[in-house]
């Protein structure tokens, strides 16, 4: 192991040397790969890894060099030339145009625009379901009357820090937003706080400062940890978010499940999802996770040390298809489907719980 570590360290140094001057803060995603190859190999391509992107590194805008939408009195256009994109709002006589620096989201994208020191959530977003622009979710109720208002909804300090705090890495330091040092997307340091320091220590030959091992967290703690961005159960409760819109908040939904046990590692976000890998979308691949509790002994109950779980009398495969129903959420661009993480006996026609 020692030889491997030294080799890894040398590799990490090479990677570090190749970093651009702008990235004086190490980019753990690449640098960490020296030792943590399996975890880093695909992380950058995951939806979390691409939770935000900078202009010039935005495949969606590259694929669609001109996007436009006519809505009310305004025309919205996003034009991309090379590494630069511009967001323009026009009412036919006046127009305002700002550069697109930050795209939030991997597939569905909303842009954070900056004008005169203020930040705006773009009024229009890109929806893959229509391969085009529509009004951003939540802004349907706003009625801009000027091209300036047409840019989008102005974000207050808290909203901007929350936005970049989840969709980027290193954006918020001591409560302050520092976009100049921000790395797009979720990288190692985002979840493994202290990994940059650990990386620097390894260059000095010290390997005893690893960040906290998140595998040691209980299911309840994992839920709270992931919920910092995906919304914790308590956040949803406090905000009174009820109805199908909360299907997007998986930790909340999971904790409402009958089978959730905060002390049982078989039912947690990371029991089913590896955050370093792309999301697995085939229902069948999750069967083994369900059967970890619901596998049957001859007596028909679980044989594991944790709580006894009934086995399914209907099927032994395709569990999520029935017990985690798909829920359609209405957006300005049409219906978008989410998997409900409230695991339950879902019968057709049942109302959406909570």
């Amino acid at each position: 192991m020692r030889c491997l570590s030294v080799f890894s360290m040398a590799l990490a140094c090479v990677v570090m040397a190749e970093l651009s001057p702008a990235q004086t803060s190490p980019s753990p995603g690449s640098a960490c790969a020296g030792c943590h190859r399996a975890e880093t190999a695909h992380q950058a391509e995951t939806p979390m890894g691409r939770a935000s992107s900078l202009a010039g590194d935005n495949p969606t805008l590259e694929r669609h060099p001109k996007l436009s939408l006519q809505n009310g009195n305004f025309t919205y256009t996003i034009e991309t030339h090379g590494s630069k994109s511009f967001y323009t709002v026009s009412d036919g006589t006046q127009s305002v145009s700002v550069p697109v620096r930050w795209a939030i989201g991997e597939r569905m994208q909303t842009w954070v625009l900056e004008r005169n020191g203020h930040y705006y959530e773009s009024r229009v977003s890109y929806y893959p379901v229509i391969s085009g622009l529509q009004i951003t979710v939540g802004q349907e109720v706003l009625n801009p009357t000027t091209v300036e208002e047409g840019l989008g909804r102005e974000l207050n300090h808290g909203e901007v820090t929350n936005c970049f705090g989840c969709h980027a890495t290193g954006a918020v330091v001591n409560g302050q937003l520092i976009l100049s040092q921000t790395q797009p997307g979720v990288t190692c340091e985002h979840c493994h706080s202290g990994s940059s320091g650990h990386l620097l220590d390894t260059f000095q030959g010290f390997f005893d400062s690893p960040p906290r091992n998140l595998k040691e967290l209980s299911s309840e703690e994992v839920s709270s940890f992931c919920g910092q961005c995906h919304r914790t159960w308590e956040t949803v409760i406090r905000n009174g978010i009820r109805g199908v819109l909360n299907v997007r908040f998986q930790p909340y939904r999971l904790e409402n499940s009958r089978c959730f046990d905060g002390n049982d590692p078989r039912i947690s976000c990371i029991a089913c999802h590896d955050p370093h890998q792309s999301l697995v979308r085939e229902d069948a691949s999750y069967d083994s996770k369900c059967l970890a509790c619901h596998a049957t002994s001859a007596a028909g109950t679980s044989v594991t040390q944790h709580a006894k779980a009934k086995s399914c009398p209907v099927a032994k495969a395709g569990c999520t298809g029935c017990h985690m129903p798909k829920v359609k959420v209405n957006t300005p661009a049409g219906l978008i489907t989410f998997t409900d993480h409230d695991i339950r006996m879902a019968k057709p026609g049942d109302p959406y719980p909570n």
């Binding site: 207050n156 300090h157 808290g158 909203e159 001591n174 409560g175 209980s218 299911s219 309840e220 703690e221 709270s224 159960w233 308590e234 409760i237 406090r238 905000n239 009174g240 009820r242 904790e255 409402n256 009958r258 959730f260 046990d261 905060g262 002390n263 049982d264 709580a307 909570n354």
Partner: protein
């Protein structure tokens, strides 16, 4: 109480019973009857009612009250009569009799929002604040606030009562209503100031010195609620300059920052504690803000100090309980959370913390029970600021 808003609970007759055409015809008829003395002609129930109504129409409240009282002595099952009597007595400042008359009316008409609301307003005047809060909230639920003016009045009274009961955070949430609707009124500023500075007073009980401070704090908080951050910051700076040692001014500022800027809030709570070292509410909020920043080890000693100093403070038990379990002392934490629950059974944050603690300890049924409580308690879709 000299409160303009207090007189604005409008259209009481219209809200009750006047849709019945027979009653309308009856009142049309009685308005034509000439005004005679009670002793001479009001010998029958119908005569009494007719004369009482006429007196009420002529704004002769004392005479109307006397006549309705006599009519109700003859026929105590006349539900509408209790309403007329109660509302007239309220207008005449006879709050205890008005409360009793409205209680009789509610016995006949249990779903009447306006009656609950008006009885709640009577109970404010008689100092029965807990009953007043329950009635005002029942009034809102049962449609007593379906008119814009009544809605304003009831929100104002709700905040007033919450303040008097020491439930300042809820009072401020109630007053947020006025800023969101851009309703400016000196009484509203005073009311917000009292709640913000955590003074269990009604505006009429504040001294002149207090009123200047309270109005300044209330105006600054109102601007914050309105979203006018720039004016609010200036107003608070002015407040700190004019009243540098006033209790709870920095607490209020921190409370307002808390939802959007935790670090700024923490600074203000710490500032408050520096100015007023015995302010355990500020100490609790310092610990709570640290907890919400996922910093339980820093929160723990602060929470311990708050609990040692004021163990009967539910919020101190809550922050200590949560700090303990988040620091790994699960059972100790649950003990303090249970104590918090004894002190304040309907505190949402205690139930949230217990749900997580039970879940973490594998007590799934207990966790599920607490979660169910929270879901039920928040079913109205209102946003709650995370406050202990």
């Amino acid at each position: 109480m000299e409160l303009g808003l207090g007189r604005r609970f409008a259209c009481r007759r219209r809200m009750l019973g006047m849709k019945n055409p027979n009653i309308i015809a009856f009142f049309t008829f009685v308005c034509l009857i000439s005004n005679h003395s009670v002793a001479q002609e009001a010998t029958t129930f119908n005569d009494l009612v007719a004369q009482a109504t006429a007196a009420a129409e002529q704004n002769d409240a004392p005479r109307a009250v006397a006549l309705y009282t006599k009519a109700l002595e003859i026929n105590p099952n006349w539900a509408q009569g209790w309403w007329y009597l109660g509302s007239l007595q309220y207008d005449a400042g006879q709050y205890a009799p008005a409360r009793d008359a409205l209680t009789r009316f509610i016995e006949f008409s249990r779903g009447s929002g306006p009656a609950y609301a008006l009885r709640g307003m009577c109970e404010v005047e008689t100092g029965e604040y807990a009953d007043a809060l329950a009635d005002i909230r029942r009034g809102i639920v049962h449609g007593g606030a379906d008119d814009e003016r009544n809605e304003q009045t009831l929100h104002f009274y709700e905040g007033l009562v919450l303040t008097r009961l020491g439930r300042f955070d809820e009072a401020l949430q109630s007053y947020r209503f006025f800023a969101q609707r851009k309703i400016t009124n000196p009484e509203v500023f005073l009311a917000i100031g009292l709640a913000g500075l955590r003074m269990t007073l009604l505006a009429k009980d504040a001294t002149n010195d207090q009123r200047a401070l309270v109005a300044a704090a209330g105006t600054a908080a109102y601007q914050f609620f309105s979203g006018d951050e720039k004016s609010a910051v200036a107003a608070f700076n002015d407040l700190f300059q004019r009243f540098p040692t006033a209790a709870n001014t920095h607490y209020l500022y921190g409370w307002l920052w808390y939802p959007s800027q935790r670090d700024a809030a923490l600074e203000e709570f710490q500032h408050e504690l520096k100015l007023n070292p015995s302010n355990e509410n500020a100490r609790v909020m310092v610990a709570w803000t640290l907890l919400m920043r996922n910093d339980p080890s820093d929160a723990l000693p602060v929470a311990q100090q708050a609990e040692e100093t004021q163990p009967e403070l539910a919020s101190a038990q809550l922050v200590l309980g949560r700090s303990l379990w988040e620091s790994g002392r699960l059972n100790d934490g649950i003990g303090h959370l249970k104590r918090a629950l004894q002190l304040q059974p309907d505190n949402l944050e205690v139930h949230i913390a217990l749900a997580a603690a039970y879940s973490r300890s594998g007590r799934t049924e207990d966790a599920r029970r607490e979660r169910a409580w929270c879901l039920e308690a928040t079913n109205d879709g209102r946003m709650r600021i995370a406050l202990p």
